[in-house]
C-alpha cells in the first residue's frame, strides 16, 4: 500500500517528549485520512468528560494519502479537536503549503496532547522532533512569527496562532503559511491552551504512488477538466469567490444586519467586481493548484490575501457596512491576529443588534466601518468590549439575555447564505456536525448556480437527499484531503480513481462516498456521546419564524421541521437523530454502536 506514510507522531507537551508508532492501516483504509481519520482518532482519545480547553483535549493534525503527491490541490491538511466554541467534534482544513510539507516529514498524523509549562514551538524535520522555547514569540502576531521562524514556501512551513489563540478566544484560528487559516470552531484556542505557539515542518520524503501510469493519466485528465470548466479556469481565478455577492443579493439570500434582512443595499459596493476593479493586485495559488483562486488585494494601509466572499460578507452586509477598504483591512487584521473572520464579523453584527436594541451597553452600531478594526483588536486581546465578543455570538447574546439574536447553529456562526431563501442550505446548517457551516456540504451549486442542474431553492420535499449526498461527498473529499473547488470542474469519480491509483486499494466512486457517509455518522455518534440530540439540529427562531418583508425571498421562512424528519429517515437515524444499529452495522461502525447508546 502506498500513499500513506503509515506513521503517527505523538507529542506530549507536559513532558516535552514524543513517540512514533504505526498507523493502523485497516483504520486508514476505512477512514482514508484528513477529516475522517481525525474523527476516528478523536473518538478514542477525547471523551465527553474532557473540557475543550483543558490539557486533556488533543489536537490531531492529519494529511491524506493524496497529500503531497502533486495531484491537483493535494496541498491540504486538516486539524481535528473538540471545539471550544461548539463542544462538538471539530475539523478544520487549510491549504497553502504546510499540509504537503507535513506529509513529507514522513508522518500521516501528528497528535499533540497535554499542556506545556511555558510557551513552546515545535520543529519537525523529517523524523526529528525538537522543542523550542517560545517565550519571545508569545504575544507576537501571525505574520511576524511566520517570518521569524523561517517560512519558505516549498521548503519550510510555519503553522501558528496569533494573540487571539493565546488569549483563548473561542473563535481563534490556526494559521499556516502566513495567511491560510484552519479557521472555524476555535482550534486556535485549543493550541493556545496548550501553550503551543507554532509548529514548523520540513521534510524530504516524497510520497510514493502505487500505479504510476494510471496516476499520470488521471492527473492529465484532471488538468484537462479544470482547464475546460469555465468555473475553475475563469470564474474562480478571474473573479474569486466574492463574485457571489451580487447574485446572493439579487436572489434575496444575502444575510444582512445579523439576518434582519436578506438583501443589502450596499452589496454592489462590496462586490467582487468592485474588489477586482479597484483593489486586486494579483492572484495566487496554493501548492500544486492550477486554479489559483486566491487573490491579493491592496489598500492604502495593507496588502494581503483575500478577502474571500464569506469574510467580505461577515464584515460587510452582516454588519451593514459598505466600505470595502475597511473590510479588506479588517480581514488582514484578523489573519494577523489569528481570528476566524466569519465568526468575528457575525459576532460584531450580533453585538450591534444587541446594542441598537438596548440590551448591551456599547457604541457598536450597524454601518459603522470605523468600529471594525477596533472591535477585532479588542477581541483578540480580550480588552474592553472585546472581552465580551471573544467567545462568539452565542455566549455574548446569552449573557445579555437574548440568545435568539445569535445567528448560529450549535454555536457556530453562519456564513453568508440566508437559509430562508435557500431551503436546502438551512437543512445543511442545522445538521452540520460542527455547527452552522457551508463547508460540510454546500447547496449553492444546486440551488443557485445550477451545478450540475438547477433545483428549486424553495422546494422542501426531497431536499434531504441532495443535502445528504453533498455532506457525504464533502466528508470524503475532506478525508483525501483535496480542495473543494476542484469539485466544480472534476467529478467525484476522478477522486476515487486517483485514490485507488495512489494507494493500490480499489475504491469505487460509490465506496468513496460511502466512506464519507461513514465519517459523517461517526462524527454524529461523537456529538451524540457529547450529549447533542435532535434538539440541537435547529436554526435561530428568526430564520424559522420571521419572513423577509421584501425581496425575492419575501414571505419565506426556513421549513426546517419537515426537511429534518425526512433527513433523519433518509440517513437511517431514529427520531432523536441517533444512527440506528442497522445503519452503523452497514457502515462498519457496529463496534461503536454500543457506546452511542451508553
Amino acid at each position: 500500500m502506498n500513499g500513506w506514510n503509515g506513521k503517527i507522531l505523538e507529542i506530549d507537551l507536559a513532558t516535552l517528549t514524543h513517540k512514533s508508532y504505526p498507523l493502523d492501516m485497516e483504520m486508514a483504509k476505512q477512514f482514508i485520512g484528513g477529516r475522517g481519520l481525525g474523527a476516528r482518532l478523536l473518538w478514542d482519545l477525547v471523551g465527553p468528560e474532557v473540557e475543550p480547553l483543558s490539557p486533556e483535549n488533543v489536537l490531531i493534525f492529519t494529511n491524506g494519502p493524496l497529500t503531497g503527491t502533486g495531484y491537483q490541490t493535494s496541498n491540504r491538511f486538516s486539524v481535528t479537536t473538540k471545539s471550544p466554541l461548539t463542544g462538538t467534534v471539530l475539523d478544520a482544513n487549510s491549504g497553502g503549503y504546510w499540509g504537503m510539507q507535513f506529509k513529507k516529514t514522513g508522518y500521516d498524523v501528528l497528535i499533540v496532547r497535554g499542556k506545556a509549562q511555558k510557551p513552546v514551538w515545535i520543529e519537525v524535520k523529517n523524523g526529528e522532533v525538537a522543542f523550542h522555547d517560545a517565550s519571545a514569540l508569545w504575544g507576537m502576531r501571525v505574520f511576524a512569527v511566520t517570518e521569524k521562524l523561517g517560512q519558505d514556501n516549498n521548503k519550510r512551513n510555519v503553522l501558528c496562532i496569533g494573540p487571539a489563540g493565546e488569549n483563548l478566544s473561542r473563535i481563534a484560528a490556526i494559521m499556516n503559511d502566513r495567511e491560510r487559516a484552519a479557521a472555524r470552531g476555535g482550534p486556535g484556542a485549543v493550541m493556545g491552551s496548550k501553550n503551543l505557539k507554532a509548529i514548523v515542518v520540513e521534510g524530504s520524503t516524497r510520497p510514493e504512488v502505487m500505479d504510476k501510469e494510471r496516476y499520470k493519466f488521471l492527473m492529465y485528465e484532471t488538468k484537462k477538466l479544470l482547464a475546460a470548466s469555465p468555473l475553475t479556469s475563469q470564474a474562480l481565478p478571474e473573479f474569486g469567490t466574492v463574485v457571489l455577492m451580487n447574485i446572493m443579493n439579487n436572489i434575496g439570500a444575502l444575510a444582512t444586519r445579523n439576518h434582519q434582512q436578506t438583501q443589502f443595499e450596499g452589496a454592489e459596493a462590496i462586490s467582487g467586481e468592485e474588489l477586482t476593479e479597484k483593489y486586486l493586485v494579483k492572484n495566487q495559488a496554493c501548492w500544486a493548484c492550477p486554479i489559483g483562486c486566491t487573490r491579493i488585494s491592496k489598500t492604502e494601509k495593507v496588502e494581503g490575501e483575500g478577502p474571500e466572499f464569506e469574510s467580505t460578507w461577515a464584515f460587510g452586509a452582516q454588519c451593514g457596512i459598505d466600505d470595502l477598504p475597511a473590510i479588506i483591512e479588517v480581514n488582514a487584521l484578523c489573519n494577523d491576529l489569528g481570528l476566524d473572520t466569519i465568526s468575528a464579523g457575525s459576532t460584531i453584527a450580533c453585538a450591534m443588534e444587541l446594542s441598537e436594541k438596548g440590551y448591551l451597553d456599547s457604541d457598536l452600531r450597524f454601518g459603522r466601518a470605523d468600529q471594525l478594526a477596533l472591535a477585532v483588536e479588542a477581541m483578540a486581546y480580550r480588552r474592553d468590549i472585546g472581552a465580551e465578543l471573544a467567545d462568539g455570538s452565542l455566549r455574548l447574546a446569552t449573557k445579555y439575555g437574548h440568545p435568539e439574536l445569535s445567528m448560529t447553529s450549535k454555536g457556530l456562526e453562519f456564513p453568508a447564505y440566508d437559509p430562508r431563501g435557500l431551503q436546502g442550505q438551512g437543512l445543511l446548517y442545522a445538521t452540520s456536525n460542527r455547527g452552522g457551516c457551508h463547508m460540510r456540504g454546500n447547496m449553492i451549486g444546486l440551488e443557485v448556480l445550477g451545478l450540475p442542474k438547477l433545483i428549486d431553492r424553495f422546494q422542501v420535499q426531497g431536499k434531504s437527499s441532495f443535502v445528504i449526498l453533498n455532506q457525504n461527498s464533502n466528508a470524503a473529499i475532506d478525508s483525501l484531503v483535496l480542495c473543494k473547488f476542484t469539485n466544480m470542474g472534476v467529478a467525484d469519480e476522478y477522486f476515487a480513481r486517483v485514490l485507488s491509483a495512489v494507494t493500490g486499494v480499489e475504491y469505487a466512486t460509490g465506496d468513496m462516498i460511502k466512506t464519507g457517509e461513514r465519517v459523517w455518522n461517526l462524527e454524529r455518534l461523537y456529538n451524540n456521546r457529547e450529549g447533542f440530540t435532535a434538539q440541537n439540529d435547529t436554526l435561530p427562531p428568526r430564520l424559522l419564524t420571521e419572513a423577509p418583508t421584501d425581496g425575492p425571498s419575501k414571505g419565506w421562512v426556513s421549513k426546517l421541521e419537515p426537511m429534518l424528519k425526512e433527513y433523519y429517515r433518509t440517513r437511517g437515524w431514529d427520531e432523536n437523530g441517533v444512527p440506528t444499529p442497522k445503519k452503523l452495522a452497514e457502515l462498519g461502525l457496529a463496534e461503536l454502536a454500543e457506546a452511542s447508546y451508553r
Partner: protein, 203 residues
C-alpha cells in the same frame, strides 16, 4: 401528492427518450430518489406519454401500498439507490449501444465529448430478466463506479443527481456509439487526437 414540477421533468424526458428512438412504446424507465422514497413509472405506463397518475411513489427500503402499481423494474432501481449515491436513474434501450454491447465487454468512445465525460462504458452480462435480484445486484454493483453502464443485449443504466443528468449520460452514450459505427462505415485509418487515450479502457 407528487409535485407537478417533478412530473413535468419525467414527462419531458420520457417524451425525449421516445422521440430519440431510445425506447420502445412501453420500454425503458425513469426514477428519482426523494429522501427515503422512490418515484418511478407505473407498471405498464408508456414513458413517451406519461400522465400524472403514471408516477408511483413508494418506499425505498420496504414495500408499501405503492409497490403493487410500480414498474417491475423497481427492484433494480431500489438496489441502485441503496448501494450508490445516485439520486436519479435513467434506463433505456439505445439501439446502437445495445448492438455494440453484443460483441464488446466495454465501449470506449472515440468522439471528443464522450471521451471527455465517460472515458469508457463497461458492459455487464446477466441473463436473468429485469425484476430479478440477480440482475438488480449486478447493475447496482456496476454503477457504483460508472455513471452509465450497459447490460448486454438489453440496455443502459445511467445515474445522476437529477434526471436531466442521467438522461444526458444516456444520450451521450448513444451518440458515441453512432459515431463509432459511422467511423467503421467510413473505414479509413483513425487519426488519434487524444493524448493518453490508450488508458481509457483502464478508467
Amino acid at each position: 401528492m407528487i409535485d407537478p414540477r417533478i412530473y413535468e421533468t419525467f414527462r419531458e424526458i420520457g417524451e425525449d427518450l421516445y422521440a430519440a428512438d431510445m425506447i420502445s412504446s412501453h420500454g425503458g424507465n425513469l426514477s428519482i430518489r426523494l429522501g427515503d422514497r422512490v418515484i418511478i413509472k407505473r407498471r405498464g405506463a408508456m414513458l413517451g406519454r406519461l400522465k400524472p397518475h403514471d408516477l408511483i411513489e413508494t418506499r425505498l427500503d420496504k414495500n408499501d401500498s405503492g409497490v403493487v402499481l410500480a414498474s417491475t423494474e423497481l427492484l433494480v432501481h431500489r438496489a441502485i439507490y441503496l448501494n450508490t449515491p445516485a439520486l436519479a436513474v435513467c434506463h433505456c434501450h439505445p439501439r446502437t449501444a445495445v448492438a455494440f454491447s453484443l460483441s464488446r465487454d466495454e465501449i470506449v468512445p472515440i468522439d471528443n465529448e464522450a471521451s471527455y465525460l465517460l472515458k469508457k462504458i463497461p458492459v455487464v452480462t446477466e441473463e436473468f430478466a429485469s425484476g430479478t435480484p440477480q440482475m438488480a445486484n449486478k447493475v447496482a454493483e456496476a454503477v457504483k463506479n460508472y455513471k452509465i453502464i450497459m447490460l448486454r443485449g438489453h440496455g443502459s443504466f445511467a445515474t445522476g443527481q437529477t434526471l436531466d443528468e442521467a438522461f444526458m449520460w444516456s444520450t451521450i452514450l448513444e451518440e458515441a456509439c453512432q459515431i463509432i459505427l459511422a467511423a467503421k462505415t467510413i473505414n479509413e485509418p483513425f487519426k488519434e487526437y487524444r493524448a493518453m487515450s490508450e488508458a481509457y479502457s483502464k478508467f
